[in-house]
Symmetry: C2
């Protein structure tokens, strides 16, 4: 596993400068140095894997929430030990990146100690990409499953109003190679972050991924923001999104059933997002996990391919490629974002 | 939770007679009394929830595999304790129902003791419906996640050959009411059992769910059996199916990467299916889980509905309704199956 990938530690100077700027901005809005660094790392990582909807396009929103104290800049985060394997984090409405960082580290610690870790988080906020935290566990040679809920974006099967968030299912595993297996898949046909990014940049959405607020199909990203995103695979995707709401919200003490506030639109209080982190050792049941998964991936890659497909990719491989590519370049930011940064700095 | 639902204990006389017949047949093919009862309960339950592809249509296959000793009629099943929470079952190629029954009971026991249970199974076979075992954990007031792999049925994203099984993702939770939340969703557009059932009964498949062996779309169930079922949601479903293969196969010591044998077509050896059972207590992080999930479900049910939808159903509700309805009736079996039963008895 390359260090660069998992922590975004080594980036070119321009990117490093940008990160320093983000840290400065977050500190100016009340975050401690360490919380600002954790948050900036996550935001820059999102840019580097081209997940722009989870990157700097959110910085202004985070700053606004910090200013209005609906993200708590000076949280008193409590970690309750339930057992050697199980912990409960009350994140005191801190910035989600910090809550998730604490939780995955605790889940790693618990799994290293007992074979399995289960860590629930309440009173948290949007933490960016689940895969970013999965990578931390995989780096420590653990398998991980991560769930978080989010503000309403998908209509439950049969309903015409959105209630479930994009509610990603995330799974990570070592592969015996430097590129981890990281599945991080939202339960909506399109990520809310992408809809937001498209709306901000006046881009059209693909057909069949969203409805407007009247329940009609739309390709207008701005209209889709006020409407409903469609779940993947109809009732199956709806059921999976419901499962994620139960695991990350009902179980943890977080908000659920559509009560997680939209961080961009609703400043009436903290989001109280809930997360759940499951981690376990790869060698609990077999001694040769790494060679087994290498064999698994090799076998699948050797299958006859559909016309036009050069390589069968496992989840996380494309993201890794994007990261390696972006690492060599400067991070390009939009003019809107450039303006935001200038305002936020001063 | 009604006992009837969870164990199929109380059924009308005709059904009870049918179950006795199945037990007799399985014993005649070498199973012990207790293993025959466990298997017959699971098979009859599948009929009662109208999951015919997992019901008596498989009995002849099980008997053939028992006769040919590719299901071990007299297994020496080993349960290895990894920790208070974690166990590993070597099912010695017993009939899958028995392996899953042992594993879910162990997972329940472990969770009751420590808050969380993780049980892996190797050298098992097809166990029917994951939801059937999830119900057992939910009855004991636990949340559960269950994974199993299966013979090749879905092509990985980018491949034109099937390799993943239908690889269901199963999640169960208490609801504070008698009807449990049981999501049990295959990662293919259609269950292989349904394809098989359709093929056996000369029924057509819906469009867009399967390809024939040449990679062409087909609605002919018999052709689809030799072809490829399509994953849900393209690369997302493919990624989820891959995750299930890792969790239930690579991790457990079971077969994986397409090596699980088709129980109907391949008698060259045992299947060596792998399963993974995760269980945990509902009250680890909140004291009022039942009222929280009741509130969750109530809120979702109250959403404005799409035209024509009477009620927003949670996963498992429809199955429960079918079960209650079927319980009052006699189980209807096809003429083909009636013939099978006669032959198997003698």
């Amino acid at each position: 596993m390359t260090k660069q990938y998992l922590g975004a530690e080594k980036v070119n100077l321009k990117t490093e400068n940008l990160k320093k700027e983000v840290i400065k901005i977050l500190k100016k809005h009340g975050l401690s140095s360490s919380h600002a660094v954790i948050s900036a790392n996550a935001l820059i990582n999102a840019e580097l894997v081209s997940a722009y909807g989870h990157g700097l396009s959110r910085l202004k929103m985070y700053c606004e929430r910090l200013s209005k104290k609906v993200i708590n800049p000076k949280p008193r985060i409590k970690i309750k030990k339930i057992s050697q394997s199980i912990s409960h984090v009350d994140a005191d409405n801190c910035i989600g990146f910090v809550a998730a960082d604490i939780a995955i580290k605790k889940a790693i610690q618990n799994a290293k100690k007992t074979g399995i870790g289960l860590v629930a988080v309440k009173n948290s906020g949007h933490y960016g990409l689940s895969g970013y935290y999965a990578e931390q566990a995989v780096k420590k040679n653990l398998i991980t499953m991560i769930y978080t809920n989010a503000p309403p974006a998908i209509a439950p099967h049969g309903a015409k109003k959105s209630l479930f968030g994009t509610n990603p299912v995330c799974f990570g595993s070592p592969t015996g190679s430097k590129v981890p297996f990281i599945l991080d898949t939202s339960m909506s046909m399109i990520n809310r972050g992408k809809v937001r990014f498209a709306a901000k940049n006046n881009q059209k959405l693909p057909k069949g991924v969203a409805l407007d607020k009247f329940g009609k199909p739309t390709t207008d990203a701005k209209k889709a923001l006020y409407g409903v995103q469609l779940p993947i695979a109809s009732f199956r995707g709806s059921g999976l999104a419901w499962m994620v709401d139960i695991l990350s919200g009902v179980l943890t003490g977080g908000n659920h059933a559509g009560k997680v506030k939209d961080p961009f639109d609703d400043f009436s209080g903290p989001q109280n997002v809930g997360h759940l982190f499951i981690t376990f050792k790869t060698n609990l049941f077999v001694k040769n996990y790494n060679s087994r998964i290498k064999d698994n991936i090799r076998t699948i890659k050797r299958l006859p391919k559909i016309k036009g497909v050069k390589e069968i990719m496992y989840p996380g491989q494309n993201k890794y490629k994007r990261f390696k590519m972006n690492l060599k370049k400067e991070i390009k930011i939009s003019k809107i974002l450039e303006k935001d940064l200038k305002i936020l700095k001063n």
